[in-house]
Symmetry: C2
Subunit: 152 residues, 2 copies
Amino acid sequence: MIDIIHRVGIKAPIAKVYAALSTIEGVAGWWTKETTGVSKPGGNIEFSFSTPSGERIGGFTMQVMALDRNKEVHWRCTSGPEEWIGTDVMFKLSQDGDYTIVHFGHRNWREAGEFTEHCSTKWATFMLSLKDLVETGQGKPAPNDVKVSNWH
Amino acid sequence: MIDIIHRVGIKAPIAKVYAALSTIEGVAGWWTKETTGVSKPGGNIEFSFSTPSGERIGGFTMQVMALDRNKEVHWRCTSGPEEWIGTDVMFKLSQDGDYTIVHFGHRNWREAGEFTEHCSTKWATFMLSLKDLVETGQGKPAPNDVKVSNWH
């Protein structure tokens, strides 16, 4: 199995980072503005992506596998691109001095293809969007996300 | 073995992207300003990193394993942090319409630790720095690189 992993350090209390990962409003502030659903264990969250002009590009449904306050958020993809279905998205939090560390993993890809490469780069930009959101109040969620290629 | 992978698309001719990867001056424009050595097969390139105030943080030596014009650049780490020694850094190029696609791999890590997570995120920022350099003439090489955490 192939894992995409990242690490960012956010100069903020762990509870503030956890809120940005464990609530619909929080995630809408750094990943995609079009985030809806129920962020509770067993609940489903829908993430949609559109162009700035409103044309739908795609989306994912994630089932919430675990919410462990100030420690971990764990989702499993149940619908979306075929490569994503059954994969796990996990955010583990730790403290290092003034920083909350986010250990990110998008785990259990079946192969490392070109789409995996793309998602790895995009996840880095979204983790930096999370950092910006928590530190400054303003992230870069889709459709205002950082474009890394012809694939957005 | 663990691989860090990324994909960026750069709106520029493939030869321009290859030059930014295969010459000392090119790499100094997106990874670290302190890049010296010989970019020829079998040659060694030294990459050093300092703080903006000039304090040395660390560095790497890479042996050039392959330079395949407009197709691939391949380095192997021969000195630096223990986790990096023996790992391979590879840039493979392809064309997709107006875009040159960079398929990046930092391959053959022995384990996926916290330092691997950090390097994955940093490599994404450096691939976007490469994109900026080629598209706009201005990258963000160290010491002006994007800071992702308390580890820089």
